[in-house]
Symmetry: C2
Subunit: 384 residues, 2 copies
């Protein structure tokens, strides 16, 4: 069924800006440039340029949200949501997905070449923030000629970016859909990230970040990813997926994986290492930990006067980004006078639910977008 409604063969595009001397001034005050963003688009921009939806990805995501890359198997990370007739209906909307600053999937990050040294930046890459990521996306949106996005949408760290758009560029968006996210990380969320970072930095192959000529901290990164995976699932979803099934016993016993869940985690950890840069993991998790949508102030204060409509989505079994954090967002929006809806989807998938509960999300998002788009069409001044 998904194949039938696929956007088909898709190619990643690249947008480069902030060439010297016009480098981007980051939140930290440091300058960075040139900056390349990998991005993909699906569907067509209408003549009024009023149908553009920006999708924002999570920690390990990339620009490839839907369709298939030529010669590759498997489709994008939210293929169930993006395509003809789907939640983000590519026959109605122009869907953009942008990779992030600091990443390693085609965009400028610590593994990119530092023009000053002609070597990878490694830890000379500046500290980046969720705000900086959004600033880069704003440049991309300018470049694409879009004055006002119909919606900014994302789960987890993508939701943080959606919130940053809402706070920084309320005039540039008609609506925001933050999913399974938080105004700021709790100490528990910071702690899980920190242990992942410690696992990477404890690996001697990390070499203070200068590993690009060697094998790199594969074992440390795998451990970090394993920790992540536990937090993305729920107690229930793990029990349903694995039970206490044992794999074949190895004798003599040498701490090999004998429960299915152990083998799964090791597999996922090892797999991640092939596609992700350890330094990017450090920079991106730090950006998430440092994120505070309202910069220490109450969120409702900084949202006052904003006109965007907001759909907040949370999942019952998500203990990494518990529903109370999403409720906090919805509450602040309402306090600030925004039209905000809060929906909690009854899922057992834990945090992963934002990627998996396509049916529930489609139901909510399709309706919400339709309404926002209709109002935009009727009342909108297109400001082109």
């Amino acid at each position: 069924m998904e194949k039938k409604n696929s956007v088909g063969i898709i190619e990643t595009k690249y947008f480069t800006f902030a060439q010297a001397p016009n480098q981007l001034v980051l939140e930290s005050g440091e300058k960075l440039g040139p900056i390349t963003l990998a991005y993909e688009t699906y569907g067509a921009l209408n003549t009024e340029r009023s149908n553009a939806v920006l999708l924002l990805h999570a920690l390990s995501g990339d620009a490839h949200v839907a369709g298939i890359h030529k010669g590759e198997q498997g489709s994008g990370w939210w293929d169930s949501m993006v395509g003809p007739g789907k939640a983000f209906d590519t026959e109605k909307y122009f869907v953009i997905c942008s990779n992030i600053l600091g990443g390693c999937q085609g965009s400028t990050g610590p593994s990119s070449t530092n023009p000053k040294t002609s070597k990878p930046y490694a830890l000379d890459f500046p500290l980046v923030s969720i705000g900086d990521m959004v600033e880069c996306q704003r440049h991309l949106i300018d470049y694409l000629g879009i004055k006002k996005l119909l919606a900014v949408v994302g789960g987890s760290m993508g939701g943080m970016q959606a919130l940053a758009w809402l706070v920084r560029y309320p005039a540039r968006i008609k609506s925001a859909i933050p999913i399974a996210t938080a105004v700021r990380h709790s100490p528990q969320q910071i702690a899980f990230d920190e242990v992942g970072r410690q696992a990477i930095m404890a690996d001697p192959a990390w070499h203070e970040g200068n590993y690009y000529t060697g094998p790199g901290p594969a074992k440390g990164l795998a451990v970090a990813r394993m920790i992540g995976h536990i937090t993305y699932m729920s107690d229930t979803s793990m029990a349903e997926k694995f039970g206490r099934q044992k794999r074949n016993k190895v004798r003599p016993f040498k701490f090999t994986a004998d429960f299915e869940v152990e083998g799964y985690l090791q597999y996922r950890g090892d797999n991640f290492v092939k596609r992700f840069d350890a330094n990017s993991y450090l920079y991106i998790t730090k950006a998430m930990d440092n994120f505070d949508a309202s910069d220490g102030k109450p969120l409702h204060e900084v949202l006052k006067g904003t006109e965007a409509k907001v759909l907040v989505v949370a999942f019952k079994s998500d203990w990494l980004y518990p529903a109370y954090q999403s409720k906090e967002i919805a509450k602040a929006c309402k306090l600030a006078g925004l039209q905000a809806t809060y929906c909690e989807i009854n899922s057992t998938y834990g945090h992963d639910a934002f990627l998996l509960e396509a049916k529930g999300e489609t139901h909510l998002i399709k309706h919400f977008l339709k309404k926002v788009f209709y109002e935009y069409e009727v009342t909108g001044t297109y400001e082109i």
Copy 2:
């Protein structure tokens, strides 16, 4: 107040058994011996030998449950519970705390000398089980001349040992108090343990367990301990303890700990390394993961005919050993016809609550023990 009711200066004792050729046959079928257990006792055994309480410790605990070791600062790990007038009133009860087989705090474990090679066992140490730990404790209890324990009590892995006593030696105990524990680990609990083990084994200084002449996998063990600490606390207790407080900023930024919670985790991780053996961490967590109190059968079936009284204690914010797991224990006890009480203490401390909620636990345990002891006194045949 605690000082006032302290058991005072305490010395650890050692009990050695299973000398060749009478080595202990482990659950795995392998033989091990000699075996030494470190243990401590508080109070005095009465002439009827009816007032002995066996305390069982958790993963990183030791035999030193109360009082002070000469020349050392700080008291035992449950000093708030053991002493004159306390929950385990040393004026009434003879309290024993035994270290575990596989440990590294005075008992035989992977860091002990293998009599065959005169070198540390390392990974030649056999796979041990919670049942094996209890088997060793049973030898200790025999040696101390106690036919029937008034109670076996423990939190977390200590609770698993209490359950193993209940299933293996129901005739040797009057009661059991399993606290914040489970009949068997869920995949989530196994997963957290496995990531800890992976962190240790990913450290090149682990050397397949043969690190006793070198520095050992300090970084890997610290990461394992950090993961543990997150799971021992709750989202709420972390928020209360740390908030989003930042430490002094280090410039240039190099992924040093800047949130308080990061510094705390690193401190706790580094501290643990000084007192704990990494191989013991592997063996003990594996014993916990392999534990199944009723060996695949329904617990109530294996408990049928058992006469011990059971007090099951859980804590509301404990997400590592969620209350539903304790309820399962209490339910099985009742189904099997045992006198069982289930109590859920309203704490925000998470899994750590079993060490910290002395007031609530004292209230429950003091009363329970008194009742069991009274009935024992009135009806008991002492079988000496």
